[in-house]
């Protein structure tokens, strides 16, 4: 997908005017947020578990080269193939080659954010291969040719009526007079349509929530079971994933899984947690004949050890966006690429550049709720600030804004000048704002377009304090 992050302000404006979207986003509070809070309250050791999960990832990242090699060795031993992909293009090429070698016509897909990142669907389509998303949310947005608007609930922006309309438009072989009012009816229809695709697929592509070095295993967590059908029924299973998904052991995977589901949906454990190790062995009742893992770097190894290193701990639970007031106001599409919300505001500039994604780390109130709920304790606001520093150093800060900032800073760095200037200006301003507020004020239109601006009371505190000191 071609990023439209540079148009963030316009995207946000559109989103704010989209009433159905605002209603859909309003539901997050009663769903993900409330459920996470309940799950956390039920597990006394949750905070300790967060520390443990964080430590697992920190250890892994510190020795990532070793664990990646150990992982590859295990995958190979169990009969699978690891394909290292330095860039998105490398990953696309590797997957296409596997599909073409198999003569694939239809490819089923489990949900994968890395798949979105490398835009694998478009690539397969261009080569005459039909990718079919099998996660319900992904299926819905595929019908609409839209990107996901949330990393675990890709169609969170849609409502029932929109889904019904899409199904009636797309599923033309079904009777026109069928009833599609209840969510259950919509789900049943999607299941029936997808069932045929599962059986027809030549290749199944899934993502991976975790990779386990000691066993060469990839792990997916889903709630629909679509991932299992995607990876077990076709002859070939391709895992598309990225280097930072690694953990050393099964035990470590368990630690991460315990915080992942709770942070994401408030479940103790997702409905399906599936461990895949190699292709079908002799005597196995099912499983693929071939098992491939495409491991993407795409700029991640450059983040190791740098200012954005901590971002590599992210386990893609979505808690940061669920709790973000900005995401809650505008939704995910406004962010203009694959990863929205606070985690996207940090990761997107790393992956597609700060020139394209500069707005993202700026569009935060730094309220800190994202960091407070992040199971991996990623200091998201701090890293957004680092992006702002880089932008400032690059000279990307808008000229008028920078000039105002510089003028203010110059005065603030010279206390005497500052006291003199404010001592003159503030009482003057107070006189114009005798009603206690301004309905409009030159240079403050960004504020007064929507709000009144409370006026100064009169003299500054410093003036009053000095006068008081003189009297006493």
């Amino acid at each position: 997908m071609k990023p439209v992050s540079h148009a963030f302000k316009d995207n946000a404006k559109q989103a704010l005017a989209d009433e159905p979207l605002r209603r859909a986003l309003g539901g997050i509070k009663h769903g993900f947020v409330a459920n996470r809070a309940k799950a956390r309250a039920k597990l006394p050791e949750f905070e300790r578990l967060r520390d443990e999960a964080r430590a697992v990832k920190e250890h892994t990242l510190a020795h990532l080269d070793l664990y990646l090699e150990a992982y590859e060795k295990k995958v190979t031993e169990t009969g699978g193939h690891v394909h290292w992909a330095a860039t998105a293009a490398d990953a696309r090429a590797a997957i296409l080659q596997i599909c073409q070698a198999a003569g694939a016509k239809t490819v089923t897909k489990g949900k994968s954010m890395v798949g979105e990142e490398i835009a694998i669907n478009e690539h397969l389509e261009a080569a005459g291969i039909t990718p079919v998303e099998t996660d319900l949310g992904e299926y819905l947005i595929q019908l609409r040719h839209e990107p996901p608007s949330h990393i675990i609930a890709p169609a969170i922006h849609l409502n029932k009526g929109q889904v019904e309309a899409d199904f009636r438009r797309e599923h033309t072989d079904l009777p026109d007079n069928r009833v599609l009012e209840e969510p259950a009816q919509l789900v049943a229809e999607a299941r029936a349509v997808l069932r045929k695709q599962f059986l027809a697929a030549d290749v199944g592509i899934t993502g991976a929530n975790l990779l386990i070095a000691e066993t060469g295993t990839s792990v997916i967590v889903t709630n629909e079971g679509n991932g299992d059908l995607t990876q077990c029924l076709p002859r070939i299973h391709v895992v598309i994933t990225s280097i930072e998904k690694m953990v050393p052991t099964l035990e470590d995977a368990n630690t991460i899984l315990r915080v992942l589901a709770r942070s994401a949906t408030g479940q103790e454990c997702s409905t399906y947690t599936t461990f895949s190790t190699g292709p079908k062995r002799d005597g196995d009742p099912d499983g693929p004949d071939e098992y491939h893992v495409v491991v993407l770097d795409n700029g991640r190894s450059e983040m190791l050890g740098g200012q954005f290193h901590d971002m590599l701990r992210c386990i893609r639970c979505g808690a940061c966006m669920n709790h973000c007031p900005v995401y809650g106001a505008i939704g995910g599409h406004a962010y203009g690429w694959v990863y929205p919300g606070p985690m996207g505001a940090v990761l997107t500039p790393s992956l597609i550049g700060i020139d394209e994604a500069g707005n993202l780390p700026n569009a935060s109130t730094f309220c800190g709720r994202c960091e407070a709920v992040c199971p991996m304790r990623i200091p998201l606001p701090k890293m957004m600030r680092h992006w702002r520093e880089r932008e400032y150093e690059k000279g990307n800060t808008p000229a008028f804004y920078k000039l105002s900032l510089k003028a203010w800073a110059y005065a603030a760095k010279n206390p005497r000048l500052y006291q003199t200037l404010t001592g003159l200006l503030i009482p003057l301003l107070a006189r114009f704002g005798s009603k206690g507020r301004f309905r409009s004020l030159p240079l403050a239109s960004g504020w007064t377009r929507y709000r009144d601006l409370p006026a100064p009371q009169g003299k500054t505190f410093q003036q009053l304090w000095r006068a008081k000191e003189m009297r006493s």
Binding site: V326, F366, C367, R388, T422
Partner: protein, 263 residues
Amino acid sequence: MAGKNQAISTPTVGLFVTCLVDLIRPSVGFAAVKLLEEAGCRVEVPQSQTCCGQPAYNSGDKSDARALALNTIAAFEGFDYVVAPSGSCAGMLKHHYPELLGDDPETAERANKFAQKVYELISFLVDVREMKAVSAAFEANTTYHDSCAGLRELGIKKQPRELLASVKGLTLTEMDEAEICCGFGGTFSIKYPDISNAIVEKKTGNITASKTTCLLAGDLGCLMNMAGKLSREGKRVEVRHVAEVLAGMTDTPAIGQGDEGTQ
């Protein structure tokens, strides 16, 4: 901790007024002085203070932010404590100065030493000075907004509620989502006014739904944002800094209100 603090019977507190209180609402500064004196402190107000530097820091301008941080530290490091009537500015002094000045061992040590003395006003009164009650009276049904930096950087939640419970005539009704950002975010409110507006609209909705007549908080930036939105919406809610109420200094017009009063 308490024992150590009690060792200083009459500590000298440097009041970090904060630029917004200095310029927009000096009455909050005087309320802070009164409360600190009631808590047995001697208060001084260094004239060389200006702003904590957050606008520069959060805009990526590290060199100006550093210069302002060093200016603040120089003005205040001689006091027993540094107290600010703002969680946001206190958080900047306490948590972000050490980070901002951490590259150079010399400034790092100064910033760390300084940070240990820094407190937000209400938490200082309750946690350090062990204030349990105030002598103020204020007839109002109030609600309290937990400003983000105070809540999440400094753990301020119970302290203002504890002291408010002792104000005669005051009742406190919690609003829904009291802990969610009001959409101010400093320069955010000017850089992204549309989004900021959508967030503050939710907040004023929650304030109105609480059916209270007075909104309190501990940060003037957030208060100005919410008061400005409430008055634009024509909602009659009296908005005040919590220090004014605790100090019994509520005869000044509320935030965003003129001499005609709040009604």
